[in-house]
Every structure is written in structure tokens, then in C-alpha cells.
């Protein structure tokens, strides 16, 4: 049946355009259905991912709230976009915070999640995403080497502010063999994170006075 229609209208460009539009319509319907079926599960997976990352930088014993839900947006000066801060509370008091920081690595953006306790000490840092060279810069990933654990327990006072550099630049942190730019970017990003916490400490304390959301 279709063949006879094709023979009759095959020379008309509109016929082919309509055919292609038909394919596009079917594709669109399929994609909408696919999205409807999967979007709930995908959202759930993202929440699980977030919970898992938060657990790695803030020990579960430190807080008694649902951190992934308990978040506030901190607006900084005009240069930086607002930053999402996850709050860890224990008995209604601020026990720690976790937020993302990022730096420019050798190949592109490095995104980190860091957890800080209420006194400004680092509880943990983890790489969320990076595009560093495999075998060299990717050792910042906790699966590849334990370099990232060097930050645990550090704060703006220890090592002193001018020591927040890699050893090659006269600082306190080891570089990775064969990669200096990557650790340099990570150290700088973590330091900026600590400075952000220091500057926003009062705001964060005040915001935990209210009821947990």
C-alpha cells in the first residue's frame, strides 16, 4: 500500500518532509515516555550518590540530621555564584559543613567535595569529577592513591597560611610524581574552601539556629 503512495508522491519534496516529520514525532513520543519511566529512578540515584559522597567527607557519627536535605545557599560577592552548603547538625548545633569547591587542573575543571567541622578543621576531601591525565594527575582520586587523605585534620592555622602550597612551591603538601599542576590546583581550591568557611562562619552559625528543614 505504501509503495503505491510512494510511487504517486515520491517526486514531491513535501512527501519526504512529512515522512521525516513523522519519524521525528515517533522519536519525540518515545523519548517522552522514556523520560517519564526513568526520571524518578534517576532522581533517586542522584540523591543516593549525594548521600554517599557526603558520608565520605562528614562521618555519620558527627551529625543526627539528613544532610542531603539540610542545605542553604550562601551568596558571596558578585564574582562568585551562590554556593550550596550542606549542614551537619548534632542536637540542633552546627557540627560541620560540606560544600563543593573547584579548581583549574592540567586539562580542565576539578570538582571537589570537602567537609569541615565547626572549628574549621578538614574532615575529608574527595574528588567528584576531573579530566586529569590518567596515570599521573588522576592520583588525586582516592581509588588511585591516598594522596587526597593528606588534607584530613588540616586547617587554615596548621599548616600556616603561607604553607598552603605544594612542596615544590615551598609549601607543606606533597606533589604527585610527574604531576605538579594538578595537586597545586587542588591545594588552592581546598584553601579557598577554608577561607570561604572562615568568612561565612557567622552566617552559617546563625542559619542553624532555626529549625532543621
Amino acid at each position: 500500500m505504501f509503495d503505491s503512495i510512494k510511487n504517486k508522491h515520491g517526486h514531491n519534496p513535501l512527501f519526504h518532509a512529512a515522512l521525516l516529520a513523522g519519524f521525528a514525532l515517533i522519536s519525540a513520543v518515545l523519548l517522552i515516555l522514556g523520560d517519564k519511566v526513568t526520571s524518578g529512578a534517576i532522581k533517586q540515584r542522584h540523591i543516593e550518590d549525594l548521600k554517599h559522597s557526603l558520608e565520605q567527607v562528614i562521618p555519620a557519627s558527627l551529625h543526627d540530621n539528613d544532610m542531603w536535605r539540610d542545605k542553604i545557599e550562601i551568596r558571596q560577592d558578585g564574582q562568585h555564584p551562590p554556593r550550596l552548603v550542606y549542614l551537619a547538625r548534632r542536637g540542633g548545633k552546627l557540627a560541620g559543613v560540606a560544600f563543593e569547591v573547584s579548581g583549574r587542573g592540567y586539562n580542565g575543571k576539578i570538582t571537589l567535595l570537602m567537609g569541615i567541622d565547626a572549628d574549621g578543621r578538614i574532615l575529608g576531601v574527595r574528588v567528584l569529577s576531573h579530566t586529569e591525565t590518567p596515570g599521573l594527575g588522576d592520583k588525586i582520586n582516592e581509588r588511585k592513591s591516598n594522596w587526597i587523605f593528606n588534607f584530613d585534620g588540616k586547617s587554615l592555622g596548621s599548616p600556616p597560611p603561607d604553607q598552603w602550597k605544594v612542596k615544590k612551591d615551598g609549601g607543606a603538601f606533597d606533589q604527585l610524581s610527574g604531576a605538579t599542576i594538578t595537586p597545586r590546583a587542588v591545594v588552592k581550591a581546598v584553601r579557598e574552601g577554608l577561607e570561604f568557611f572562615k568568612a561565612q562562619r557567622k552566617t552559617l552559625r546563625r542559619s542553624t539556629k532555626g529549625e532543621p528543614r
Binding site: 505504501f2 515520491g10 519526504h16 519519524f23 522514556g34 526513568t38 534517576i42 550518590d49 599521573l136
Partner: protein, 235 residues
């Protein structure tokens, strides 16, 4: 009209292998084959898309006119890849986290468009499915073998992180072949991939010559007619 399924399978698997013979799809090949595990994951995902796009294109082949075939095929393949990506993200999340970046790249894999145009749009559903399946398996073999060579030479391990992809039962596959290996960065990066691929193709040629000498006619089929040609003649 009889369809020579053995011929289709052999074609996809070996004689007309996407990588070793057609030299197609080198971009995803170089991007993911730094470890054998990544190669395997990409191979499985590509095979799924090849087989399903073969079936879909074959079902609609009478409606895909010659004039709109390229946009229509791209549309079908892109839709399938997006559905595979959403499904993986929702139900195979661990695997998605490893391969997620590469899944959209499957759309740009010219081998899939090539098979849809050359084979699936001219053949009945079952041959199209078999062709997609075995082209995919052949591609997977190429990805895994190149990945294994690059991983052993580059990092000294084999199938590292296989349990992330296949589940904890497969942790026995993870091997450290060269302990305390310092690593050979060249093979982790794409240039090493090209070098290894060159050697693989050379070895394949030598093997084919050897096979031809041992069993004459093993690689030159007695029935040279492809199903596509059979059907076109029948029309």
C-alpha cells in the same frame, strides 16, 4: 531465498570486522580502551545499540525513502542511544558512572550508521538483528583486546575495576600482572593506542595468511551473495 546467517556472523565477527578491517569507529576506540574493562563496557553498550538499531531500521525500511534516509537513520540511532542512556542511568547506575561519558558518543559511531544504511535498511528483521549483534561482538573483541594490551603495558593490570562494571562476583577478573610497575604513560594515552592497533592489524593479517595456507578458502566464502543482494534481486 535463503539467508546465510553463518556468513553474516563471520563477516561481523572477523572478515569484515568494524575495527580490524573497516578501520571505522576509531574515535570511541581510542577514547575508552585505556583499560580492558572500559572497552568491554563500551562494547556491550555499542552492541546493544547496533542490534536494536538494526531491528528498528529493518522494521521501518519501507518508509525510509532514499531521500531522507540519512536524517531518518540518525534520528532513530540518536533516540535509541538516548533511551539506552536513560535506562542505564536509572537501573545500572554503577556502570553508568563508569561509562556515562562515552554513551552519547555511540551516536557519532559511524559504524552504526554504516550498518543501518548498508545492511539493515535492505534486509529483513532477523538478518538485520544478527548482523548488528555480530558486528557488535566483533567491535567488542577489538575493544577488549586493544584495552587489554594498553592496560598491561600502560598500568601492569588487567580488567581493573571489572567488579564495578559487572558486579562484585567478577572481582576474580581483576589482576595485577606486573607488581610494582611504574606505568608506561604512552600506552595509557591515545598515541599508544594507535601504535598497539597497528600491531594488532599486522598480526591479524599474518594470521589470515597463515589460515589461508592451512585451510584454503577458509576466508573466501563459497557463497559470495550477501542477503542484501538477494532481496534486492527478488524485488
Amino acid at each position: 531465498m535463503s539467508v546465510n546467517y553463518k556468513r553474516i556472523a563471520m563477516d561481523g565477527f572477523w572478515t569484515n570486522n568494524i575495527v580490524f578491517t573497516q578501520l571505522l569507529a576509531l574515535c570511541p576506540l581510542m577514547a575508552v580502551t585505556d583499560t580492558a574493562t572500559n572497552g568491554l563496557g563500551m562494547g556491550i553498550a555499542t552492541t546493544a545499540v547496533l542490534a536494536s538499531s538494526g531491528v528498528t531500521v529493518s522494521i521501518w525500511r519501507h518508509f525510509i525513502t532514499h531521500e531522507i534516509r540519512i536524517p531518518a537513520l540518525v534520528l532513530i540511532i540518536a533516540t535509541l542511544v538516548t533511551l539506552v542512556e536513560m535506562g542505564m542511568n536509572a537501573w545500572m547506575h554503577e556502570m553508568y558512572k563508569v561509562l556515562g561519558l562515552f554513551i552519547p558518543l555511540i551516536v557519532t559511531n559511524c559504524a552504526i550508521l554504516g550498518r543501518a544504511e548498508i545492511f539493515a535498511s535492505r534486509n529483513w528483521i532477523l538478518p538485520a538483528f544478527v548482523d548488528g549483534l555480530f558486528m557488535g561482538i566483533g567491535f567488542t573483541i577489538a575493544l577488549v583486546s586493544l584495552g587489554a594490551i594498553r592496560e598491561i603495558l600502560g598500568s601492569g593490570t588487567l580488567f581493573a575495576n571489572a567488579s564495578l562494571l559487572l558486579g562484585p562476583h567478577f572481582s576474580f577478573m581483576e589482576m595485577t600482572l606486573i607488581p610494582d610497575y611504574k606505568g608506561f604513560l604512552l600506552f595509557v594515552l591515545p598515541p599508544g593506542g594507535f601504535i598497539a592497533l597497528g600491531f594488532l592489524i599486522a598480526f591479524r593479517r599474518i594470521f589470515d595468511k597463515f589460515l589461508e595456507k592451512m585451510i584454503p578458502g577458509a576466508l573466501t566464502p563459497k557463497d559470495p551473495v550477501l542477503p542484501a543482494e538477494v532481496e534486492e534481486a527478488a524485488n
